[in-house]
């Protein structure tokens, strides 16, 4: 770690303890929480669970627009909307136009939901039409035919057609200059257009969940060809492109295009057409201003073009503490991503004085912590130990999850293993509860059985050969409350005689060490646990990916990824998992799919490849009192892009 980041790091922990002290002070005053609302009881509009009806189906014939567009000189709203616009029902009430929403930059993806070909239902399972009107798979799952809505337009008024999709996939994702390593989801795809609204994707093997991927990562499928063709060597001469890149400072057109695709905030972004409800209007140091997209394609049931809100101002806030302070004093209209669970009391205090609403959503993480012991670790003795299922079980049952839930989550989380969320088709209750009971005696018995005894009488267990045993957990304290959790976990392990230690490391180190298998033990958060992403990314249960989040079996993953050329051949039971995962992603038989998914999860329940602590944790979501139509309870997570199913375009300001 370099000196400055070290300084920042130290200062962060100081800051954190200061905030903790303040929170504790506040806890003394605030003790009452509203009773948790269960997802099932939440009354979302029924329309959200179905494909959106269109204006013609509902008999809407006249359309209106925000008054700010009246003098804009644009074509009339009816011409800007698609031929038959989809109608989105608001959560509570029909809204009215106007207002600027103030948020911090990290929440912009939540207030300005990504709009892609498909969208995700709040049931966390169903993929619904969005820009695409319909689609169907061939029976063998090898062909997907998608039809776009007619008359869709980019934010500059240019029509959206199959050309744009073809450009994004054929000229970018499958272009070896742009993507030297083709992303696994695109390998072998063949795309062609039937007409301006219909295109066909041919897969090399069945891909029933391809639409999940498109719905969840719309950015990778939607680039405006009419804008970006001027930057692409297929359409523009290299000299012209070089000149443009020189001007913008980019080293290559592909770097420029990647930056655009990632929706990074950079100056040229103001020129890029978008399909989202808002388009960026200006960037200045620390502030990003968005204005409404006058060509946005959705309307409300009274024929008003969405969104209701006219503009968004997003401030760059780098410190969580400042984000919390701003949110709790009512300076933000919407905040979520930078609000730690621990600050709920502080925010609740603000609720009484600052005109804000603090809603407690549930995080979609199957478990806030995924504790991983490296079963491919270089040290032979450690590796053997970690490969021993009794050891992993002992580690798990030594953890007092109820106490963690009380101390860290105010009792509002759910103690559970790393597995899918309860509403999932693949869920069985025992996947969450297996080896999750708190049983010190049994843990001690298991450790004794393995031969880890306290030989020298210092209260700490030694390895069977009498040599010293220390467990070092190295991790990055990010996204979920890992540090405070690990402090407890380490104390539980010490209580059963294990010399456990923890160490925070740099993010870079986490990545490089995880991928090269150098982390002895680590911690990540278990996302990808809904039916949207689990079937395509069963990452925590099957070794098939090299990533910062997966440090327990890098060599088996490498073996899988390189078709056996590199890495280590996994033992038969692990190999079976990989075979199952391949079948899960490709089978068109729904029954079989669920059967395999459950087999994979059951294997984890039995073997604990990774150990969970508390999941479905409370996530504070703060809104200003004037912001209406935000759901009171939702699920918060990457799988559904945080707010995608809850239609932020329908949020409005009370007059």
């Amino acid at each position: 770690m370099n000196p400055v980041s070290l300084l920042v790091f130290r200062f962060r922990s100081l800051l954190a303890s200061f905030t903790l002290a303040v929170s504790l002070l506040c806890l003394a005053h605030v003790t009452v929480f509203p009773v948790s609302i269960q997802a099932a009881e939440v009354g979302y509009p029924a329309a959200w669970l179905e494909p959106a009806q269109t204006a013609s189906q509902l008999g809407i014939t006249s359309f209106t627009q925000s008054p700010v567009l009246d003098e804009s000189g644009l074509p009339p709203v009816a011409q800007r909307l698609p031929d038959d616009p989809p109608v989105i029902f608001p959560n509570d009430a029909i809204g009215s136009y106007g207002g600027i929403a103030h948020i911090i930059a990290d929440d912009r993806g939540m207030l300005i939901a990504a709009d892609g070909l498909f969208t995700i239902s709040p049931d966390l399972k169903t993929i619904l039409p969005n820009l695409a009107e319909s689609w169907y798979y061939s029976d063998d799952g090898l062909t997907l035919t998608v039809t776009l809505r007619k008359g869709l337009k980019w934010s500059d008024g240019h029509p959206l057609t199959t050309e744009d999709i073809l450009f994004t996939v054929n000229d970018l994702q499958l272009n070896s200059d742009f993507m030297p390593v083709t992303l696994p989801d695109f390998i072998g795809l063949e795309l062609h257009a039937i007409d301006s609204w219909t295109f066909v994707i041919n897969f090399p093997k069945p891909r029933p969940f391809f639409i999940n991927y498109v719905a969840q990562s719309p950015e990778y499928f939607l680039m405006p060809k009419h804008y970006f063709r001027d930057f692409h060597p297929e359409y523009t001469s290299p000299d012209v492109i070089d000149e443009r890149m020189e001007e913008l400072g980019f080293s290559s057109w592909s770097a420029f295009m990647t930056t655009s695709m990632q929706k990074r905030l950079f100056p040229d972004l103001v020129n890029h057409p978008t399909m989202s409800a808002f388009k960026i209007e200006s960037l200045s140091p620390g502030l990003y201003s968005y204005e409404r997209n006058p060509y946005y394609f959705k309307i409300d049931p009274s024929g008003q073009q969405l969104p209701y809100i006219d503009a968004v101002e997003a401030q760059d806030v780098r410190e969580n503490e400042v984000a919390v302070a701003k949110a709790s004093t009512g300076q933000l209209d919407f905040a979520g991503v930078r609000l730690p669970t621990q600050d709920i009391p502080l925010l609740k205090l603000g609720e009484q004085s600052s005109g804000i609403k603090v809603n407690i959503w549930n995080r979609l993480h199957g478990s806030d912590l995924s504790i991983q012991a490296n079963m491919n670790y270089a040290d032979k003795q450690k590796r053997e130990l970690f490969l021993d299922v009794r050891f992993r079980r002992a580690l798990s049952i030594a953890i007092n999850r109820d106490e963690m839930n009380e101390i860290i989550y105010f009792g509002r989380g759910t103690p559970r293993q790393v597995t899918v969320v309860p509403g999932s088709d693949y869920f069985e209750p025992e996947f969450a509860t297996a080896w999750a009971q708190y049983d010190v005696e049994a843990a001690n018995a298991l450790l004794d059985e393995i031969g880890l005894h306290d030989v020298d009488g210092d209260g700490i267990r030694e390895l069977p050969d009498g040599s010293r045993l220390t467990l070092t957990v190295e991790y990055v304290n990010t996204e979920t409350p890992k540090q405070v959790s690990m402090e407890l976990v380490v104390s539980y392990w010490q209580a059963v005689g294990l010399d456990a230690r923890q160490r925070l490391i740099d993010r870079e180190l986490q990545y490089s060490r995880a991928v090269s298998g150098e982390l002895e033990m680590t911690v990540w958060h278990a996302d990808r646990t809904t039916d949207i992403l689990f079937p395509i990314n069963p990452d925590f249960w099957v070794p098939r990916k090299l990533a910062a989040s997966l440090a327990m079996w890098s060599e088996w993953s490498r073996w899988y990824l390189t078709d056996g050329n590199l890495g280590e051949e996994p033992p038969p039971n692990i190999r079976q998992l990989q075979i199952w995962a391949d079948e899960l992603a490709t089978t068109m038989d729904r029954e079989r799919r669920i059967e395999i998914g459950k087999l994979i999860l059951a294997a984890n329940a039995e073997n604990l490849w990774t150990i969970g602590t508390v999941g479905l944790a409370p996530q504070p979501v703060v809104t200003s009192n004037r912001l209406m139509n935000v759901v009171e309870f939702g699920l918060w997570g990457w799988d559904i892009r945080y707010t995608m199913p809850y239609h932020p375009a329908t949020w409005y300001f009370a007059q």
Binding site: N2, F11, V181, G249, F250, D506, Y511
Partner: protein, 329 residues
């Protein structure tokens, strides 16, 4: 004299060349690079740091080239005034730096003036009235200021700024003035916010300045020439300001050189907490993410300013203090 300046200027070239190499190498020393850290930022929104994406980005950003090639490309452009491209912000470093430099200079200059206007007179007073009640009081306040971490003062002032004056948290402007052209109202709004960073940054240097001034002056006040002058009936204030203060102030002049780089990096942590649109947070961010062109260029700017500043200090000192001039001649 001119010869001396030219010699010093020429001497800077190898110094800066060595610094540039060290900077570039040190930035690259830790594991990972800008690609893993930008992806990591994206992973706050859930993108996983998977191997294939990282390889693609490295190739796109020419990060797969050997280090010396990258260094030569960077330093060659730096000399011609092109500071390269910030991967983190996806724009040329020049644009990034210049648009923030104005605010940085404004805040740090105000803070410096704030420090000196308060600390120097207090230091003088404390020395003249050593061990008086006021001396103890100022010393205590000054030491508390020195001992309290900057960011804590920033947080506390932000809190009071909000509860007493209704100021928004952080930044230099209220939300309604954030994105409008300059006007009288916007200027006043900025002044209303400006005092927080100025006080925070100013107080951190206050105690040291105060105590240094006090100590230096105490040394001088005991010297025979002061006693002689006093005995001869020179008016006390004139005596104080014309002789001992002038000498006691020398150490400050010799550190003016160090103030130049502090103008850019001094408010880093405070800038992060207060969300200031200044260069400090830019530097911190670029170092954390190993955005090498941005970090390298900022540090090179700091180095140039330090080296130039030291020269300026020496010249200024020679100008203020005749003794130094005579020694050198």
């Amino acid at each position: 004299m001119r010869k001396y300046v030219i010699r010093r200027l020429l001497g800077m070239i190898p110094t800066l060349a060595i610094i540039s190499i060290i900077v570039f190498v040190v930035i690259q020393l830790p594991e990972g690079d800008i690609v893993t850290s930008t992806l990591d930022q994206l992973s706050a929104t859930g993108v996983d740091l998977s191997d294939d994406r990282i390889q693609n980005l490295r190739a796109q950003y020419n990060l797969d080239q050997p280090l010396p090639v990258q260094y030569l490309a960077w330093i060659g452009n730096f000399i011609t005034g092109d500071m390269g491209f910030s991967y983190l912000y996806a724009q040329p470093v020049n644009e990034l730096v210049w648009e923030r430099l104005g605010y940085t200079l404004l805040i740090t200059t105000c803070a410096l003036l704030f420090t000196w206007v308060l600390a120097l007179p207090i230091g003088i007073y404390s020395a003249v009235r050593q061990y008086s009640v006021a001396d103890y009081a100022f010393t205590t306040i000054g030491l508390i200021g020195l001992a309290t971490p900057n960011f804590l003062v920033a947080l506390i002032l932000m809190y009071f700024g909000y509860t007493w004056f209704g100021l928004s948290f952080g930044g230099l402007f209220s939300p309604e003035y954030l994105n409008v052209p300059w006007s009288w109202g916007r200027f006043r709004d900025m002044l209303a916010h400006l005092w927080i960073p100025v006080v925070v940054i100013g107080t951190s240097g206050m105690a040291i300045t105060m105590r240094l001034m006090r100590a230096n002056l105490l040394d001088e006040l005991k010297k025979p020439y002061v006693i002689t002058a006093r005995a001869k009936g020179v008016p006390p204030l004139k005596l104080l300001l014309k002789y001992p203060v002038r000498i006691a102030i020398n150490p400050f002049i010799s550190t003016i050189g160090l103030l130049l780089p502090a103008l850019i990096s001094g408010e880093a942590i405070v800038g992060v907490v207060l969300n200031l649109p200044t260069t400090g947070p830019l530097l911190v961010q670029s170092l954390i993410t190993q955005d090498m062109y941005l970090a390298g260029s900022l540090i090179m700017m700091l180095s140039v300013l330090t080296v130039v500043g030291m020269l300026l200090s020496d010249l200024l000192l020679a100008w203020v203090d005749p003794r130094i001039r005579y020694e050198r001649a």
